[in-house]
């Protein structure tokens, strides 16, 4: 009896957490005015009229494209920079390694909120305000990415690197053809983590851009919150577009993402 109660409680709690996300679908695809109906509607009606309006009558495709562009370029850059730096920390004998180590960990501890003002000044002087580069470049290096790769590279047998040295294989070829392909879990984890953080970017573009042409979808949503005031169907449809990619990726990789986020700074432990 008690066991049955616990099971029910567990399912109820889990459903409660997912419900708000589900409601976006219900409202976005509901009939007109369903958001105001009492008692509330619990099933989606799959009317895509509102979604169609959002997609065709606004710049929504543009925002989606912006988000896709920013996110994918960031992911590729983070993978490259993390793999290279991770390799240096794992394999290269060099003086001052400890210092680099602390510099890389230290970045994680700088409070993002407190840095926005001076960062804005730096962005202004580098002419990066209102540019795609300004939304990408500051995020192409990543502490957990570096440490994840380092961790995987350190697990590779020393003989892999040694046979490469004997066969006159250059460092670059070795990283590209051997080390990174063998660190595939790190590639997957870094890709997922970067995808989530980059797609969900909001405050940075809010501050660093004022032209809607390059806005990512999350930021564009706030503009629409004013435009579509209380037009819940259109607003929810727009939100659905921002959430859908994340939810779809999460559905397929949930186990991996949970492990990655929970153990995100695993590698920083010596």
């Amino acid at each position: 009896m008690a066991k049955w109660g616990i099971t029910a409680a567990r399912i109820l709690v889990a459903v409660a957490f997912v419900a708000p996300v589900y409601w976006i679908l219900v409202i976005a695809t509901g009939v007109r005015g369903s958001a105001y109906s009492l008692p509330p509607v619990f099933l989606p009606a799959f009317h895509f009229h509102a979604l169609w309006t959002v997609l065709t009558q606004t710049h929504w495709l543009r925002y989606l494209a912006n988000s896709v562009l920013i996110t994918s370029v960031t992911i590729v850059c983070v993978l490259i920079s993390s793999a290279l730096a991770g390799y240096a920390l794992a394999e290269v004998r060099m003086p001052g390694k400890q210092m680099f180590f602390y510099l890389i960990i230290g970045v994680m501890m700088l409070p993002a909120q407190a840095l926005l003002v001076p960062q804005y000044v730096v962005m202004f002087h580098l002419h990066l305000l209102n540019t795609y580069a300004g939304l990408i470049v500051p995020f192409v290096a990543n502490t957990s990415g570096i440490f994840l790769f380092r961790q995987y590279f350190m697990k590779l047998p020393a003989s892999y690197r040694e046979i490469a040295r004997i066969e006159n294989v250059g460092t670059w070829t070795y990283i590209r053809r051997v080390a990174v392909p063998l660190a595939r879990p790190a590639v997957a984890t870094v890709t997922l983590l970067t995808f989530i953080s980059s797609w969900n970017q909001f405050q940075w573009p809010l501050i660093m851009t004022n032209s809607t042409a390059i806005d990512p979808i999350e930021l564009a949503l706030t503009h629409y919150m004013q435009t579509y005031q209380a037009n819940w169907r259109e607003l929810s449809s727009a939100a659905l577009l921002a959430i859908l990619p994340i939810v779809i990726v999460f559905l397929f990789t949930q186990k991996h993402i949970v492990a990655a986020v929970a153990g995100g700074d695993q590698g920083s432990k010596e």
């Binding site: 957490f17 060099m94 909120q113 192409v140 405050q203 706030t222 659905l240 949930q254 153990g263």
Partner: protein
């Protein structure tokens, strides 16, 4: 037989190795230095100046910026709001996530257990603005689901985001929804090290449950509890997006109503980017910086001493 040494081109390779290492680290280091360390250093500097970023004219005014801040009631109100936010959020997040972890712990290795955990975790990876939209609707005083439920049970139906008293609790509820999954997973990691036999033995005897919790589970999760407390404090003090999204929508300017949800982070944003008082915003940021960095160092210190998860 002659030994075929075609090109002894890598005579210097050993001496070049450190240079290679620097080269590999360069892209990351450059980004860190330009966009993070330089601004951090710059922050301390501009806090003590009257400064115009567009003309780069500056004038040293010592603690002037700080004195102006301290004279403003809004600064103190924002500080109070931040502390209120943290004072409610941190204990609530810690206790609730521990409770969730204990509830979900059993059978977490099974397929269904994993799915339940993922469901609780899902909100943490969703974009804040997009999900805020649905919460604004849930919080709607007249048509929102929350008040419908409260009404069904004949409970008082607050104005939530429209009310100065209830706006902050609404923000806290959203924040809990968005972050509990993360803390729960951290606790689950610590609980995973619990020996199975201990739990099975305790289940036979109901009276032993409290003893088990106090003597076995609490000591086991105490390092991770500390970690969660510090992490939640840092995250709460740095909250911005959800407040901006929840309060900046149909109900008017972010941080409202009547500055009821204007935390430090929001005040820095408004001061710098709406009113262009960069020097004042810097002074505020510097205080925030020192506070949060202190917490982060503490967190790192703990993380280095205990292994919690996996």
């Amino acid at each position: 037989m002659a030994i075929a040494i075609e090109r002894p081109r890598s005579v210097l390779r050993n001496r070049l190795e450190p240079i290679l290492g620097f080269g590999l680290l360069l892209p990351s280091m450059l980004v860190f230095l330009v966009f993070f360390y330089a601004p951090a250093a710059f922050l301390a500097y501009i806090s003590f100046f009257h400064w115009n970023i567009f003309t780069s004219q500056s004038q040293f005014i010592g603690l002037g910026n700080f004195l102006i801040l301290f004279a403003q009631p809004l600064f103190w109100q924002a500080l109070f709001t931040s502390l209120y936010f943290a004072a409610v959020m941190v204990p609530a997040a810690t206790l609730l996530s521990l409770g969730l972890a204990l509830l979900l712990r059993e059978g977490i290795r099974s397929r269904r257990g994993g799915v339940l955990r993922s469901m609780v975790f899902l909100p943490h990876v969703t974009p804040v603005v997009a999900t805020s939209i649905i919460w604004i609707w849930l919080f709607d005083p007249q048509f929102g689901l929350l008040n419908s439920i409260l009404g069904f049970f004949h409970l008082p139906q607050p104005g939530w985001l429209a009310s100065t008293h209830w706006a902050m609790p609404a923000v806290i509820i959203y924040s809990l929804w968005h972050s509990l999954g993360l803390y729960t997973v951290l606790f689950l990691g610590a609980l995973a090290t619990l020996p199975r036999s201990v739990l099975e033995a305790a289940q036979v005897d109901g009276a032993k449950r409290w003893y088990l919790f106090r003597r076995v589970i609490l000591p086991l999760v105490s390092p991770v509890t500390f970690f969660v407390v510090v992490l939640a404090t840092i995250n709460t003090l740095q909250s911005f997006s959800q407040i901006y999204a929840l309060t900046g929508g149909p109900h008017g300017g972010a941080g409202g109503p009547a500055f009821a949800t204007t935390t430090d982070s929001l005040l820095v944003y408004q001061t710098a980017f709406l009113y262009q008082h960069f020097s004042l915003a810097s002074a505020m940021s510097l205080m925030l910086f020192i506070l949060i960095l202190g917490l982060a160092l503490m967190q790192k210190w703990v993380a280095d001493r205990f292994v919690f998860y996996r």
